[in-house]
């Protein structure tokens, strides 16, 4: 598993590039604001709308704030959104899918039909509505994003659960009189968590994108905090006189989303290849024993 992970993350030049970029963004989110020597909110009156130079690596915005420092602040928001929302989606998706798969029958049918129905809801609009109604609290915003992205994970976990529910160790647990909750959380969830986590890597770019999208419209993160979406919106307003205010945040958002997508795809392909081998070996074993 570890070597497979290594292969997905560093196996090719492209994958190495993506991994290094994500690590740089992570480092930037943690230490970047200190690195540039400028406070993200400090105004440099001598450099209003200045282009990239030695003092301000990415230039400054309309009111003289250091763009590099602000982009690093935005990285912090994006990764925070990714972390919180993805965790929430896993926390909802895994138990939901595992429960449906384990129960099977009518319960499963109804729960999965519910998921189908929810797929057609324009959720971005619901998140926006939530922001409008309950105020723009960043934590609530990230939690709401997570509550929207659990559908895929629930589906995958349910499929995995169906695949393992007739396996010996689950049947043994059942025969020993283990309770439903015990089987669910001690036997099923640990075994389906792997694939769920693999697919969750594709939730990360989706969440980052959704966060910037809503913030871009002015409905998510607000001043004095900032996010890549807010910076792109600001950049759009000043792009004629200061194109760098649009370029740099757009570059960071685009590259980061692309890197996460590439790595997520690779990880999933790798995992699919391996598990297909694994399920096939179980099938051959079963066929041989019958």
């Amino acid at each position: 598993m570890l070597s497979a992970l290594q292969a997905s993350l560093f196996g090719s030049t492209l994958a190495r590039f993506c991994s290094v970029w994500i690590m740089l963004v992570l480092a930037g989110a943690l230490f970047g604001t200190a690195l540039s020597g400028w406070d993200p909110e400090a105004i440099d009156w001598d450099a209003l709308e200045a282009g990239p130079n030695a003092a301000h690596w990415f230039g400054t915005d309309l009111i003289g704030r250091d763009l590099f420092a602000r982009i690093m602040l935005g990285a912090r928001v994006s990764l925070m959104a990714a972390l919180i929302a993805t965790s929430v989606s896993i926390l909802i998706g895994i138990p939901f899918g595992a429960f449906a798969g384990l129960r099977g029958g009518r319960t499963d049918q109804i729960m999965m039909r519910m998921v189908d129905v929810l797929y057609a809801v324009p959720f971005i609009l619901v998140v926006i509505l939530l922001m409008v109604v309950f105020g723009r609290d960043p934590l609530l915003f990230f939690l709401a994003l997570g509550a929207v992205y659990w559908l895929d994970i629930a589906r995958i976990v349910r499929g995995q659960t169906l695949a393992i529910r007739e396996q010996a160790y689950i049947q043994v647990a059942r025969t020993m009189g283990a309770g439903r909750g015990h089987i669910l959380f001690r036997h099923v969830v640990p075994n389906v968590a792997g694939p769920a986590l693999v697919y969750a890597t594709l939730t990360i770019p989706a969440v980052i994108l959704a966060e910037s999208f809503i913030s871009f419209l002015g409905l998510g993160i607000q001043e004095p905090q900032t996010s890549w979406g807010v910076l792109i919106a600001d950049g759009t307003r000043t792009m004629e006189s200061a194109p760098w205010t649009l370029f740099f945040p757009a570059l960071f958002l685009g590259l980061t989303v692309w890197s996460f997508n590439m790595l997520g795809d690779r990880l999933r392909d790798q995992y699919d290849r391996e598990t297909r081998g694994y399920t096939r070996s179980i099938e051959t074993m079963r066929a041989a024993s019958e």
Partner: protein, 306 residues
């Protein structure tokens, strides 16, 4: 097949009801009333306002009234734009939004399928790799990055097209293209994969063995099978196209319902926000139903079973 379609239609209606209820109760759960301004209103005025907007009734009653109103096609008055009903505002914006959305859909389908077919018919060649590399790049450009960059390049620097607003056909060139581009990439990738896979199917080999001309094989035998994944992608894509159009309308300053939605959300105009969500949801569901209908016509398994 008719049974399949009836089930789908019932599920869509159920979904619509879920969305309406979700939106209604979420808005009603909002802390503070819609008329809490800087100054406290005299109690009589507030009572009259609440009565005018049907907010003085018990919640269950309001809910049923809202459903009844919706059933009659009335989305209610706007909370903030006092002289307008939500219906008037939406019908003013809808033609713009629909026009841009449908144009984008047409572009995405034409170019996506075209490129995907071209690449998929000769998988592994240099053209294939080049086209798919471009498609991967296209997927990585979200609308909030693509749209402003397009304005900067074509309107500000090259000066070929207007930057935003309405008034001439030239204003409607960039918005649909910018909206469609990520979908062109996604559809091209899907089509390419499924065309390359279908090429290996026995029925295509049979058609080749019978000596049918290539054009006929592609149109009659290959595409109906190969386009099924594209069709099922269109359902979820409708929702994404719509959220994309909100950004596009914002960047290009188009007076569509996406812009009304953002403005209403910023001024906390609850009824208008609700109205737009309801209209959007209706469109998405209708579109999904249409996709299902096409699917049922194309996929022999559904055509025969249901």
């Amino acid at each position: 097949m008719s049974r399949y379609l009836i089930t789908r239609a019932l599920v869509s209606m159920l979904t619509f009801w879920v969305i309406i209820s979700l939106v209604f109760f979420m808005v009603r759960a909002a802390p503070g009333g819609p008329f809490d301004g800087e100054r406290r209103l005299p109690p009589e005025v507030e009572a009259n306002l609440l009565a005018a907007y049907n907010l003085d009734q018990p919640l269950a009653r309001q809910y049923l009234d809202y459903l009844a109103m919706l059933a009659a096609g009335d989305l209610g008055p706007s909370f903030k734009q006092k002289d307008f009903s939500v219906n008037e505002l939406i019908s003013a914006g809808l033609p713009v939004s629909l026009g841009v959305g449908l144009a984008a859909l047409a572009i995405a389908l034409t170019f996506g399928i075209g490129i995907g077919l071209f690449a998929g018919l000769s998988p592994g060649t240099r053209t294939d790799q080049l086209l798919m590399g471009a498609a991967n790049l296209g997927l990585a450009l979200p609308s909030i990055v693509l749209a402003p960059l397009a304005v900067l390049l074509f309107a500000v620097w090259l000066g070929w097209l207007p930057a935003g607003g309405v008034g001439s056909p030239a204003h409607f060139v960039l918005p649909p293209i910018a909206l469609a581009l990520p979908f062109v990439a996604a559809i091209a990738r899907l089509t390419r994969g499924s065309v390359a896979e279908t090429l290996l199917e026995p029925h295509i080999m049979t058609a080749h063995a019978k000596g049918l001309p290539q054009r006929r094989i592609v149109i009659r035998h290959l595409l109906p099978t190969a386009l099924l994944p594209v069709l099922s992608f269109l359902g979820p894509a409708a929702a994404a196209l719509l959220t994309g159009s909100v950004v596009i309308e914002q960047v290009f300053e188009l007076p569509g319902i996406g812009r009304y939605f953002v403005q209403a959300a910023l001024n906390r105009d609850y009824t208008l926000v609700m109205g737009v969500v309801v209209v959007y949801a209706a469109f998405i569901l209708l579109f999904n139903l249409l996709v299902d209908l096409c699917y049922a016509r194309l996929d022999p398994r559904i055509r025969i079973d249901g």
